[in-house]
Symmetry: C2
């Protein structure tokens, strides 16, 4: 299971000014412990449906994917925000790093996955020229059915499908949207399209474990039952633990304290794994949209929320770590480290007499990436830069499912600590309205 | 040419607290104007060789690329930090968005490009299983020849090449390193390998317009002469302009003032173009490593430097803009907008009677992405969030070359304003040493 090592946030490691004493930390953990019960209560009365996603039945998704997926060359997702970031994170962490470059056989006949999460004319045009629409399943994902970006891409896809396939266009379309509301649901009912539901009350950024994330995952061969099993295990662990042992709660307290009491307005997530890079990108939305709020739950202006940054180990050691070590001490750094990589790879025994290279001969890349993480951690700690490490046992459907759930729950707890609504996003409305007006929509 | 609209940093737009008055801005521009002359002077005595890169001859690179590149299926770059970020930014901005997925004919026989900028065993192993080494050119890039990450990947590539090709392995290798120093240069001379030079005094993050960036670009069909021509044009523009009209200088003053006087410790770069996304990633290193410093040039502790963030329009409107609009007012946002996209793409005339979609019918994605940018800009400005827009005429080798040069020069000026050495990176040494010790290197 996931374990977390918080030692490097303590003042014993990073000093009084930038660290927390153990007693202060324990005191705050105790003070807010009611939050854990509060979240459970809200869940029990149905206010936090994202927490129950691990227990949904995925038979319909899995059956459809097994039936259909391998008959298609491409799976194209049309979605933005949570509708794209969750699927991307699942795909990159659990599928082959060069999935779309593999040939059919290497992909075991699973389709290539393309995700259109922008309305860049160059990118959209290039994709539609690249794929054969007849061999492509399009999955349009929008909860409300009113988001201009996926809707405009859907209009293009639908028009091409109908031209190429006539009435059979329905075979190549999956709609993921609200069970009742919106024009896409109406269309699903009128034209009897294949569809899945974004469960009511589950916002985009908490939807990765719903059909939003699970359909594209199943269609590219990911064992979604195991993903949910991992999430369920994390759920039970956090439910049963006392607050001081609940990792999602403790990490939310730490993230909150470093923002509010230690002037760290940035929260860096830095996995030491290329596969987990996009988990950090998904987390960026989760944390930023949930906590970046003008008003608290009592309607008082607070302008709050720390800014999530993504970084990649070891890559960003050669880009960001200079600043992390020597710049203003304004960040809390969260490492993610897999206990095991899915491959062991040896550095060949060359250059034994060359000082610059010989020490690497015969070692493994696994040893190297671990040493780099440890080296970076030591340097940051010596420079009094607080950091902690989330350790996954491995990178597997279970551990990735657990990590998603852990970070979502952590964010829900953080909403209570920040005293904001972690489930709305009023601050995107103004820009949306200005855009729609510029596009000539009657408001 | 590139133009910049700074209106939304002024107090008339974003208020006294978060904006600059025009007179204050002009006063600071005047006060530090000597910096422009100082940079020119340092350049003239050879201290800023990155500034002369636009005028280098690239005939050798271009000739080799034309001779060799199209005989290979893959070009694999082994490098990290600036050795990877510059090449990635060039590739993504100027080549096809799905370059590696295209077939040979669609790629006009240019090779696929893979960039290994991590030592993740899973990723490295997957790549080496994917490619046929005989059909692959490896370009190892490390200035010093001592960077563990590219050296370890190089050891693996070399060992495989020698096993598969014997003495002919040299055909498949290009070494880009220091002209004199390091074991790679010694190896180049002993074994007569094809090589290019990282010019002395040009650090990784300022090397994109050197063979570091130009070799992989030329080998994938990018017109590198035009890239340099664009950079040269930007150089002449900044040289000739008075300080108040020098866009690189003025933007450096603004970036500096918002960090030091307006408590914006984050600098967001947000291009409205998927192709320019990785320019923002390249910039992240340039800005962070250059200015994130513990000591100023006089040896006084300053712990300075603002933190660069990358975001992508419109994608991150559905991830980060909630926080940018409503969270703490701690960011300066820099939009990058192309005046023209390379494609015009129409949204089909469907759903005319559906309010949620009908207003999009018959419009173009070009109109939509522009309206989204404008809408976001309006909302941010209304929320008193300072922002400015760098406008490129288009996305072309010339404009991308100009943008690279502009941002490098801006950073060099910013070094003077922050009073730090913008060309070293002492803060990565401690972590490096700790890593090497853990790997058993004798120090």
């Amino acid at each position: 299971m996931i374990t977390i090592n918080f030692n490097n946030v303590l003042s014993g490691r990073v000093g009084q000014k930038h660290g927390l004493t153990r007693s202060k930390l324990n005191q705050v953990i105790k003070k807010h412990a009611h939050i854990c019960r509060q979240i459970q209560k809200e869940r029990q009365v149905g206010q936090l449906p994202f927490m129950d996603l691990p227990y949904q039945s995925v038979n319909a998704i899995w059956k459809l994917a097994r039936q259909k997926a391998r008959r298609y060359e491409n799976f194209v997702l049309l979605g933005i925000g949570g509708s794209a970031l969750g699927p991307i994170a699942l795909h990159r962490s659990l599928n082959h790093p060069f999935h779309n470059v593999l040939d059919r056989r290497q992909r075991k006949n699973w389709p290539r996955l393309f995700i259109l999460d922008n309305v860049d004319p160059e990118e959209i045009n290039a994709l539609f020229k690249l794929i054969d629409p007849k061999k492509t399943i399009f999955n349009v994902i929008t909860k409300s059915g009113t988001t201009a970006e996926p809707v405009s891409c859907f209009m293009l896809a639908l028009s091409i499908l109908k031209r190429k396939l006539g009435a059979r266009y329905k075979n190549n379309l999956i709609v993921t949207t609200d069970p009742k509301k919106g024009f896409l649901r109406r269309m699903v009912e009128q034209e009897k399209l294949v569809s899945f539901e974004v469960p009511p009350g589950v916002g985009g950024r908490y939807s990765v474990l719903s059909p939003v994330g699970l359909v594209p995952a199943a269609f590219t061969g990911i064992d979604i039952k195991k993903v949910l099993a991992g999430a369920a295990k994390m759920d039970r662990l956090c439910q049963r633990a006392k607050p001081g042992k609940n990792p999602a709660y403790v990490s939310s307290v730490i993230n909150f304290l470093f923002d509010h009491k230690k002037n760290k307005n940035m929260l860096v997530m830095m996995p030491y794994s290329s596969a987990l890079k996009d988990m950090a990108d998904w987390f960026r939305q989760l944390w930023a949209e949930s906590l970046g709020k003008k008003y608290n739950v009592k309607g008082r202006k607070v302008f709050t929320g720390s800014t999530p940054l993504k970084a990649l180990g070891v890559t960003d050691q050669h880009s960001q770590v200079q600043l992390y070590n020597e710049g203003p001490n304004d960040k809390l750094i969260v490492f993610i480290e897999p206990g095991k990589y899915r491959t062991k790879l040896t550095i060949p025994s060359l250059f034994k007499n060359v000082p610059e290279a010989g020490f690497l001969a015969g070692k493994t890349f696994n040893q190297l990436i671990r040493a780099e993480k440890k080296g970076t951690e030591i340097a940051l700690t010596d420079n009094q830069r607080p950091n902690y490490t989330i350790k996954l046992p491995n990178i597997s459907p279970e551990s990735v499912g657990a990590l998603f759930y852990f970070l979502e729950l952590q964010t829900a707890y953080a909403g209570k600590l920040y005293n904001v609504n972690a489930f709305d996003q009023p601050g995107v409305e103004a820009g949306k309205i200005a855009t729609l007006k510029l596009m000539g929509k009657k408001m």
